[in-house]
């Protein structure tokens, strides 16, 4: 467990440093994810050892969003003025995003097979 957590932090750190140093538009954790993915491609056994800890972390992914969600308390004023615009934009764009993604993939998978 400790080794996996250390590894995750190490890759995140590498990602952050790389993003800053090369002035990439991509956030550090995403670069870290890419670097880890490339490492896994080269070292198959590593995924096995990381499995349990990673599963535990990802199973509780929702929890990690709670502190940011509570931040709503600091934006009540802004949301008070704008909430109809924001909610309508969020709901419609979510529906649109999901429908477009699902239909694009469904259509392309079918034409791929056919």
């Amino acid at each position: 467990m400790l080794a996996t957590i250390t590894l995750l932090l190490f890759y995140q750190l590498c990602g952050e440093l790389l993003a800053r140093y090369m002035e990439l538009p991509v956030p550090g954790p995403v670069i870290g994810m890419l670097l880890l993915f490339l490492t896994l491609l080269a070292r198959d056994a590593l995924a096995e050892t990381m499995e349990v800890t990673v599963e535990g972390l990802l199973k509780n992914l929702s929890l990690l969003f709670v502190p940011a969600g509570v931040g709503v308390i600091t934006h009540f004023e802004l949301l008070g003025e704008n909430w109809p615009a924001i909610s309508i934009a969020l709901v419609i764009s979510s529906i649109l995003g999901m429908v477009v993604t699902a239909l694009t993939m469904k259509f392309l998978m079918r034409s791929n097979r056919g």
Partner: protein, 241 residues
Amino acid sequence: MKGEIVQLWVYLSATPLFGLTATLVAYLAAVKIHEKFGSKPILNPVVIAVIMLVIMLSVTGMDYATYFDGAQFIHFLLGPATVALAVPLYRQMRKLRTVFFPLMSAIVAGIISGGISAVYIAEFLGASIETALSLAPKSVTAPVAMGIAEAIGGLPSLTAILVVTTGVIGAIIGTRLFDLIGCNDDSVKGVAMGVTSHGIGTARAFQVSSEMGAFSGLAMALSALFTSMLLPWLLTLMGYL
């Protein structure tokens, strides 16, 4: 007696232990409530936990910064969790290869349609540019979305809330929406869920099936990567940057 309680509270509110413990207790209680009522998507644990904590902060008068002193330890884990997505991504390598082209195209289509429509609709309905831009990265996982918001001139803290809300919306309406459009392939449903509703949608997808969950996690990881590359460029093209 009352004096003692006040003193105790003064001590508690000054230590990060309180915000941290309160967050965990609220989340565990929210999960219990969620399960007790048949795991209905509308009773999303994140929403219940946030409501409980907001009420607690309002009642006690504790400010968000003090609460976050403790809660930041949980918030911090979003970074390593994003890195950890490399593992399920690697696990799905074989399936990934067979659907590579449809998958990539669908993710890009989803990012563009979801992100751009949110900005346009919000602006059309009278939201400020700053608010509209804060909406643009709402479909990717929180630390990435906040990073993007900062880069494109939105408000990272507002984006964080919008990210959570979008996640919850997708988790609530997702499965019903897929039934409505006649979509019953778990890999397709997972991808659509992950692109739109990141980690919160992925948590919901895992309730449906492990295949839907894995594809949602995969889509969420790829969409975090693509969105951070595509969005600044798209917004420049649209004349916002």
